[in-house]
């Protein structure tokens, strides 16, 4: 992937920059949907390479960020049950729910364990037969197949004490919701490479067909992103709406059929609540009836507190691309990565965290 020499990279980068500057004759707003893209853009200093006409806004592509308070409240409620072990990716620990967080519960004795793969949960379940092990299944199409495979592995191993609390979400329906709402004017979309490696190209076809918005599936190297911006600016200048796949080396047009098959076996589409976007039809994944005994919500009783939002936090608007982190009065003062108030500052892929860490707009040359 890094087979180009440094000189070639520089030449290409300079070419893309020049073309973008030449073609961007009127203001355009491009949204990078994916949190990994957001971080890559800031890390490579790409914003500073673009002419003022080209604005990059971040979208709802950080799975931790879009997980709503209600889900965290449910996880917290489960974690307070004496016979429950919660397994989760580390990012979720510090995300505040309505009145608590998993980290706070852990500090007061809840058994919450960080795993690096959902499959680790199965070992924990096998080693703790007297406990119920609940995996917090959070993520987009990228991670959902592994969670599905874990359910199948649990079934095969005959584990009766493993459950998932699903907050898996699907990217295309969220894009449709954003474009339909029309709250944020988007002229082009940078689409997530990892998600696309699973689902392929077709699920994004509606963007150009129905909404007339050009979109590019792209990778995470700085040159991938700069190249994708160039492709979008070129399409926009030509008045074309099309879907381009800049990331063919990783994203086959048909995606990954094996992963999709596993996913389809265990999960079915369901309405899902997103932080900032509300409930979006068919935008989430729910465990299918045949595997209901692995679905924590269906199989285990739990009483969840009433959901409250954090006063002042503007994560919802940030996730919809209608507010920038700097528009939030708490940004950098009451809310920092050390003491995050909202999910966008908690997650390493969150927009607020990236703005803070890489000093968006803070470096003037």
């Amino acid at each position: 992937m890094k087979s180009r020499s440094r000189e070639e990279e520089h030449r290409l980068a300079a070419y893309f920059r020049g073309e973008i500057a030449r073609l961007a004759t009127k203001p355009v707003r491009l949204m990078e949907v994916c949190g990994t893209h957001t971080v890559a853009i800031f890390k490579a200093g790409i914003r500073q390479l673009l002419p003022p006409e080209v604005e990059l806004v971040s979208g709802p592509g950080c799975p931790v960020c879009v997980t709503p308070n209600g889900y965290l409240d449910t996880a917290v409620a489960f974690s307070r049950q004496a016979d429950v072990i919660i397994t989760t990716f580390g990012d979720m620990l510090r995300v505040p729910g309505s009145s608590s967080s998993l980290a706070a519960e852990q500090a007061t004795g809840a058994d919450i364990r960080i795993v690096y793969s959902p499959l680790d949960s199965l070992e924990i379940a096998a080693a703790n037969p007297g406990k119920k092990v609940i995996f917090l299944a959070v993520g987009f199409e990228t991670t959902a197949p592994t969670a599905a495979a874990t359910v199948l592995a649990a079934e095969q191993a005959g584990l009766a004490n493993f459950y998932v609390l699903s907050a898996h979400k699907l990217v295309p329906p969220a894009l449709r919701a954003l474009l339909t709402a029309g709250e944020v004017q988007v002229d082009g979309l940078l689409l997530p490479g990892h998600v696309s490696a699973i689902i392929g190209e077709e699920p994004y076809g509606f963007l150009a067909r129905e909404y007339g918005v050009p979109a590019v599936i792209t990778g995470f190297e700085p040159l991938d992103i700069l190249g994708a911006v160039y492709l979008l600016v070129k399409r926009i200048a030509a008045g074309e709406a099309a879907l381009d796949n800049e990331y063919r080396r990783v994203v086959p047009p048909a995606g990954n059929p094996a992963a999709l098959a596993v996913l389809d076996k265990v999960y079915g589409e369901a309405d899902a609540a997103w932080r900032g976007l509300g409930v979006i039809p068919a935008s989430g994944l729910a465990v299918k009836a045949a595997y209901r005994r692995f679905d924590a919500l269906a199989a285990l009783p739990v009483t969840v507190e009433e959901t409250k939002e954090h006063p002042g936090c503007r994560c919802g608007e940030v996730l919809r691309g209608v507010a920038r982190p700097a528009d939030c009065p708490l940004f950098g003062t009451a809310c920092t990565p050390e003491k995050p108030v909202g999910s966008c500052m908690v997650s390493v892929e969150g927009t607020c965290a990236a703005w803070y860490k890489y000093g968006a707009g803070r470096w003037q040359v």
Binding site: H10, K43, I46, L49, Y358, G359, W363
Partner: protein
Amino acid sequence: MKDERILLAHGSGGKLSHDLVARVMQPAFANPALDLMHDGARVEAAGAKLAFTTDSYVVKPLFFAGGDIGKLAVCGTVNDLAVSGATPLYLSAGFIIEEGFPVADLRRIVASMRAAAEEAGVSVVTGDTKVVEKGAVDGIYINTAGIGAVIAGTDISPLNARPGQDIILNGPIGDHAVAVMAGRHGLSLPASVASDCAPLAGMIKAVLAAVPQVAVLRDPTRGGLATTLNEIAAQAGVGIMVDEAAIPVRPEVQAVCDILGFDPLYLANEGKAIIFVESPYSEEVITVMRAHPYGREARVIGRVTPAPAGQVGLRTGIGGVRLLDMLVGDQLPRIC
């Protein structure tokens, strides 16, 4: 913050460490030598200009590719003296050992301390040994303190950073942290990756002898290059711009970082020095460094700028510019 507790991140060498020292230690002990917050304090005793420093070593695992806790305990303190512009002379060594610790391991550690001390030209002239109950420490902790004689005609201080100076680094970064982490997690590494742990006193002395005009010297240990540059920028009230493409990182180290989600700019080094000098002297500094085994890959990695005061910028591989902030919290392996 009545109930505030010490977190592991308070020891990471990043922002939280700084806040802790600034809020708790500095007010308690305030004096001119301490307030400079250099790696070693400059003091005077009976007319002699001395540098004085101390550090405790709690590394896990105790033995890693390229070194062990003993070598580290000597090199770390020697380097703190060297980057204070001093010739290291005497060390103390304090050992806190867990009951049950193998004597053979202790011998190995002490032998490597001796070898490092010999190379650095210092003597361990006093020491202390305590044994504590099983579980009270993890194997062995070592504290070393050191005294050195300030090299006449030099003036090293972070406050000397001025716009227009070049910033020179003696070689690739991140090797130490990656070697230790690999040891900790049982990862196998290519043989080319080992800790850079080394006593730098000889190389630095040669540089100062040739170019006494060197203004700032630091070793980017915990918190890495990024944090050290931020400290200097903040203390001197200058801006710093470094060039990502000029900062050497071994491809093997980068590969491990990519997998674990680490940024080499924030990783600890134990054999690296950063030198700020007016640019007409850069070439000579680099020539002297390259003549030394620990400075073969010395090069200019950036410059001091007048603004924005206190901030470090990074010119990225594809030509963008972004803030290079201090490390916030601990670097954790990324999960998803």
